[in-house]
């Protein structure tokens, strides 16, 4: 078999005929799974208006609530815990963590035409904070990411540097004049801003050197977080600068940063440093490659580097690291809509699960208590597929976005495949019961919203548009159709569907259609094609 044709399209705006499948492609890559109605709405809006809707700021969500925990003296049920202190001897972290986890997935589920949740996850993967045992810290951190999801990259790095969760995660809070701790300094360069080039000499990684790590650790000395698991109601989470912990010496960077010298600037020094790092062109390329792998595909060959990454990085620099135009350009480009970029992205577990719930408009539990339990259970299912939102596996984030040669393929293996299939089987079939709520696809409601549900061939085409990134083969369609007509002529489906619609009292007709159609959905959702976006 030959290698696939290389990508030749660039960043010019997509000018092909704007079709339903184009709108579906854009929405699947930028949101957690559109319904057929949303695809049609996006199609009607046209490319420019839809992209504008996707990137424009929207109000921040309300904070997570105490949905059902009666024993938090500081937080009544129905109120938020995000600023409330802890209580000695009470394990309040547990319910608050569950609340945060459930709330996070609910944001993904409830969002409409916006890529903010996917960008929030992008940043969570980018900074990959974990092992923080205080949900208030995590909420503050993820809120910072959400607020800046399509903001200014440089500003975001500055704010994350002083974010209490980050100060704890990479030991910035223990980085002092007397005892520099270089953990954050190293990752700031290697993973957060400029990236690591080839090691060209001992301790010289092309973009920075070991000496830079040491010098930058000194620049960042003196910061501490306040409020970790605090019991004190008057203490709110924040970072402070402790002058006598700060290294006041003059720091010398390597030739990789033009031998820059950083004099003592106290609490403004970190900001000066980050400005200095961002003067290197490589920072823009580094983040553009990550955005590319997030929205388009993991293979970055020379032609993608030249036709996409370079001009996108130039644009980011011209925009002074404002992300909005860069993302707009990328997701409106002919390259984004290139035939070769339709469907090769393996959905990550949350894209798969939340996408499925959205596409089928699976009803949520009516009350907040049970609903939170449902979403926490969903969070756990995603974790069992190696995607625990608040605990990425390492400081590099999830392997799917950085580990060669597999990339997205890391989501797929003998452990995770059965979990995917059990999930979709259950939702299409008998449902999953959590906290008394049955999470289940309403098959007939989905069917009724398809184009021409009485026409078995049109119905299949409509499902393909709604659910799959590319068309199926004639053999596959025939096999799917067989699930609905069972070897009989096509009109049999029409008769059965019409009977179900026109004879409200005929429960047998409804049950017959529903049974067949559930089996049909179950089959489509377990096809390899459905795992792709």
């Amino acid at each position: 078999m030959e290698e696939p044709t290389t990508q030749t399209t660039g960043l010019d705006k997509y000018t092909g005929e704007w079709s339903l499948t184009d709108a579906a492609h854009l929405l699947r890559r930028t949101t957690f799974g559109p319904t057929l109605a949303e695809i049609k709405m996006g199609h009607a809006m046209g490319l420019d208006a839809l992209v504008q809707r996707l990137i424009q700021p929207s109000p921040m969500p309300n904070p997570p609530l105490n949905a059902n925990f009666a024993d938090d003296p500081n937080v009544p049920i129905g109120s938020t815990w995000v600023t409330a202190p802890y209580v000695a001897g009470e394990n309040l972290e547990r319910y608050r963590n569950q609340s945060l986890a459930a709330w996070t997935l609910q944001q993904q589920l409830q969002e409409q035409f916006s890529l903010r949740e996917k960008m929030t996850l992008f940043w969570y993967n980018h900074f990959a904070v974990h092992n923080i045992n205080d949900p208030k810290y995590l909420y503050k951190h993820v809120t910072l990411l959400r607020e800046n999801a399509l903001g200014n990259f440089k500003q975001l790095v500055k704010e994350v540097t002083l974010d209490p969760a980050m100060l704890r995660f990479l030991n910035g809070n223990q980085n002092t004049r007397q005892a520099p701790n270089e953990n954050f300094a190293r990752e700031l360069l290697e993973l957060y801003t400029i990236g690591k080039g080839p090691q060209v000499a001992q301790g010289d990684y092309s973009n920075y050197t070991e000496e830079d790590v040491i010098a930058i650790a000194k620049v960042l000395t003196g910061w501490r977080d306040i409020g970790y698991r605090t019991l004190n109601p008057s203490v709110q989470l924040h970072a402070i600068f402790v002058a006598n912990r700060h290294d006041t010496s003059t720091k010398q960077l390597s030739h990789r940063f033009g031998q820059a010298v950083i004099p003592n600037m106290g609490e403004r020094e970190y900001s000066y440093l980050i400005d200095l790092i961002f003067q290197q062109q490589e920072v823009a390329r580094f983040i553009c490659r990550k955005l590319y792998r997030w929205f388009v595909y993991y293979v970055i060959d020379e032609s993608v580097e030249n036709a996409i990454i370079e001009p996108l990085a130039d644009l980011l620099i011209r925009q002074n690291f404002e992300l909005q135009e860069v993302v707009r350009t990328l997701i409106s480009s002919e390259h984004f809509f290139d035939r070769l970029n339709r469907g090769p992205m393996i959905k990550h577990p949350l894209d798969f699960m939340i996408g499925l719930l959205r596409q089928f408009e699976v009803p949520q539990a009516p009350n907040p208590g049970p609903n939170q339990t449902v979403f926490f259970q969903l969070y756990n299912i995603a974790s069992s597929m190696d995607m625990n939102y608040y605990n990425p596996p390492s400081v590099s984030g999830w392997k799917a976005w950085h580990q060669e040669p597999g990339y997205y393929r890391f989501w797929i293996n003998g452990t995770t495949l059965p979990i995917r299939e059990n999930f979709s089987d259950a939702l299409a079939g008998p449902g999953l019961r959590f906290a008394g709520h049955l999470l289940r696809i309403n098959a007939l409601a989905f069917l009724d919203k398809l184009d021409e549900p009485a026409d078995v061939n049109a119905l299949i085409e409509s499902c393909i548009v709604a659910l799959l990134p590319q068309d199926l083969t004639a053999d596959q369609k025939a096999a799917l159709k067989d699930l609905l007509v069972g070897g009989l002529p096509d009109f049999v489906w029409n008769n059965e569907y019409v009977a179900y619609k026109t004879e409200p009292g005929n429960t047998n007709a409804a049950a017959l259609v529903e049974g067949k159609f559930r089996n049909f959905i179950k089959t489509m959702l377990s096809m390899a094609e459905y795992y792709l976006s």
């Binding site: 078999m1 290698e3 696939p4 044709t5 030991n171 223990q174 007397q178 005892a179 520099p180 701790n181 270089e182 953990n183 190293r186 290697e190 993973l191 690591k196 080839p198 090691q199 001992q202 301790g203 990684y205 070991e210 293979v299 070769l340 339709r342 469907g343 090769p344 393996i346 069992s384 597929m385 190696d386 390492s394 590099s396 392997k399 950085h402 580990q403 060669e404 040669p405 597999g406 393929r409 890391f410 797929i412 293996n413 003998g414 452990t415 995770t416 495949l417 059965p418 299939e421 990134p469 083969t473 053999d475 596959q476 096999a479 089959t523 377990s526 096809m527 390899a528 094609e529 792709l532």
Partner: protein, 522 residues
Amino acid sequence: MKRRQFIRSTGTVLSLPILLKGMPVSAMDKTSIFEFTDPDNDRILVLIQLNGGTDGLNMILPRDQYDNLAQVRGNILMPESRIGVLTDVTGIHPAMEKTRVLYEEGKLGVIQSVGYPNQDRSHFRSMDIWQSASPATEFWHTGWLGRHFGANYPDFPQNYPNSAHPHPFAVSLGRVVSETCEGPNGNFSITLDDPFKLIELFEGMDESAPDTPYGEELAFLRISKAQTNAYSESIVAAAGKGTNTVTYPDNTFARQLSNIALLISGGLSTKVYVVSLGGFDTHANQVEEADKTTGEHAALLQTLSDGMAAFQQDLFQLGLEERVLGMTFSEFGRRIRSNESMGTDHGTAVPLLLFGSCVNNQILGQNPDIDPEVDVREGLPMQYDFRDVYGTVLKDWFGVEEAAIRQLIHPDFQPLPILKVCNLTTSTGNYPLEPSTIQATLYPNPCQQWLYLDVALPDAMQIRVTLLDAMGGQLAVVSSRSLSAGMHQFPIEMRSFPAGTYFVRIQHGQHVTTRRIVKVRT
């Protein structure tokens, strides 16, 4: 046997595109020219990956250096009396008491200071290097075990499993496949969570996938599903037949080891199992101040040790001991000096543990010399190249020819005496090591412009001499030639290097010595 499918079409063979993105051509050519695995070899390797970079000096302790250790890492150093005794000069963390007992029983080998030239201190990159066995300066996209399998089974994954190879080649315990098993066309390992659960995934229809990135990923998904189904049957069958004879500790790591023993005893012919234990990146709070034998690192070492010991006992009682070799690895060791956060930062070489009844029951290599004036950036200098450890495992455990190993792993492969003639067909044995017959003298130390190495050889032999800096960087290869018997002098130019600490590593055959030298300002 495929259960959940559409009606089978005319039998187009599922084709998986060749995925060699970025694989150096030289490395590809290497792997398709020989066929070498001994089919009767029923030996198994269990790899234990310690994620985060374990602090080797808090694991295998140079007891003869205690006073110096107290000067450079006093805030995390346990009392001398608490160190478990392995030999008269070397000790082990007391949390690893059961591993110490394994040593007493002859079932543990320790290799001191294992690393590679030009140590990279990034977790991510260094783990890549350890998993691929690439030189630090090259990016390889296959794993060392994946290349080994790929040389023998170049068509994999197409048409696997089959009647000749019904079982998975490798199993990664957990939820992600191990990069060590990444082959030229796909990963040779399958993941395993619950060996008792039969998996029946929907396989769709055998169709050729289009020749596009979409088609590539589609083919990957389809073959993953088909293989999961097929391998699941053999795993469930083995788990049903197998048994455990000991109670394992109640943690994921130990459960994974117990599943390995279960599957081996149930007849699964898988050659490699990979388990991971994470959390070794102890920049802070590595030990508890009140009792420095406790803390985060001690807890991890105990999990490791107790799991290993239970596993070994199980294998012994199952009569499988001689078929299984265990080996730990970690992306780097940590600094010699501790930091003020009661932790340690990213360092260089790290001891590696081998366990099983076929290991040479020894501590290979010398205790590191701890200089009380050691620079804050220094890690342990490398004594043994990890690629020589891997190569020896391939050679002595899996029966791979040395010539093949030079191509698979590295051209300078030097077998090490780490496995004994047990049920082995070949062995680099020679255990215990004959004392070294060469005499090497380095002078002057401290040096200024030049350093001289005098070597007296009783016979003609090859010796390899390299100069390393304090960070583990290889500055020069002084000699790698065959030399005649007699005296040889090597002048080593030092004037271009800044003042500081350096190491001269001298390797001949299986003997390695690493000598510290100091350059002072002229």
